[in-house]
């Protein structure tokens, strides 16, 4: 058969060359390395904070600032749902006169754009005084639906306080995550 295709010949030459130079064992070994690597990689220890940092960096933190705590984009308010105590004669960690801090709070986390660190934040409601109504803010980073109440900001976190009447919300730092 003299009319052999040139591609057939080229391919035959190439595959014979490969077959002469490499063993099937080396192929198995390399393939094995790849397979084991693929299985082990997901189980290696990972930096937990990175997961949150990435999520934070893509969301609220892009527009966040660290200077003015009477604005909704103040960095600690990444999961704030309520009226800012800073706008109600209180502060970011203090309740306005006539209201009292709830003993309970929900814990979220926000990225501080100044130092690139993720901080655990306690969103604490001030209670026992009519609703403040100043500086309403709504951010939902890391927040969960109400059927996960310990991670939800939709509920009145005044439980445990003497009065369930909601006034405003502050944002204290728990620690670096």
């Amino acid at each position: 058969m003299g009319n052999e295709n040139i591609f057939d010949r080229l391919f035959e030459t190439a595959s014979r060359r490969i077959a002469q130079r490499s063993s099937r064992r080396s192929l198995l070994a390399r393939l094995g390395t790849v397979l084991v690597g693929a299985a082990v990689l997901p189980t290696l220890p990972v930096d937990r904070s990175g997961r949150f940092r990435k999520a934070h960096a893509q969301g609220f933190a892009e527009q966040a600032q660290t200077a003015d705590d009477t604005q909704c984009n103040y960095w600690r308010y990444c999961a704030m749902d309520g009226y800012l105590c800073s706008c109600c004669n209180g502060g970011v960690t203090s309740c306005p006169p006539g209201s009292e801090p709830s003993p309970t709070s929900w814990i979220g986390s926000c990225l501080n754009p100044d130092d690139g660190q993720v901080y655990l934040i306690a969103y604490r409601d001030c209670c026992g005084k009519g609703v403040c109504g100043q500086c309403p803010c709504l951010s939902t980073e890391g927040e969960m639906p109400v059927y996960r109440p310990q991670l939800s900001n939709d509920i009145d976190w005044c439980f445990g306080a003497r009065s369930m009447v909601y006034h405003c919300t502050g944002a204290g730092i728990v620690g670096k995550a």
């Binding site: 937990r48 003993p103 309970t104 655990l120 991670l151 445990g160 003497r162 728990v174 620690g175 670096k176």
Partner: protein, 164 residues
């Protein structure tokens, strides 16, 4: 023996982490919380509070209290099956770790002398059997603790002296 070593390690870790996040913001030194303390913060601390004192009549205190439950068999079971534990957004291994950490961090003196640390397997099994009526079960346990004189009458971890 291995379990005891594990408990000792936990104890050491808890002591290291103790003092953690309190009035940090005022002093200007903000601590980095350990992985297990972060799990506690995100899942438990909102209601039980950083100092473990809970809230009068609403949230049971854990400080100087929660370890008492390890002194009766049903109490150990209760700690694993109480709704906040069962539904926590943590896998079984991390949940076991945070429970052990909580016990030694907040209530070391109350833990039963023969207590063995919670294991991942134990947590996994218990999560399949959540307590249905938590208030009734808890009342029963408090009565039993009081009957054994481990708890003074009138003290139930919910309405304590100092409640206003």
């Amino acid at each position: 023996m291995r379990r005891r070593a594990g408990l000792a390690l936990l104890l050491a870790l808890a002591l290291l982490a103790a003092g953690g996040a309190g009035a940090a913001e005022e002093t200007g030194e903000i601590p980095r919380v350990s992985a297990v303390a972060e799990d506690f913060s995100r899942n438990c601390q909102g209601c039980h509070r950083a100092d473990g004192t809970g809230a009068c009549r609403t949230v049971p205190r854990i400080r100087d209290f929660v370890g008492l439950f390890t002194r009766i068999p049903e109490g150990r079971d209760y700690l694993l099956r109480v709704p906040g534990v069962v539904w926590a957004m943590l896998d079984d291994a991390r949940l076991a770790r945070v429970l052990n950490w909580m016990l030694v961090s907040y209530s070391r003196d109350e833990i039963a002398p023969d207590f063995t640390a919670f294991t991942e397997e134990e947590v996994r099994a218990a999560r399949k059997r959540p307590i249905a009526d938590v208030l009734e079960v808890r009342r029963g346990l408090i009565a039993e603790l009081q009957r054994r004189a481990l708890l003074p009458p009138g003290e139930d971890g919910l309405v304590s002296a100092g409640c206003d």
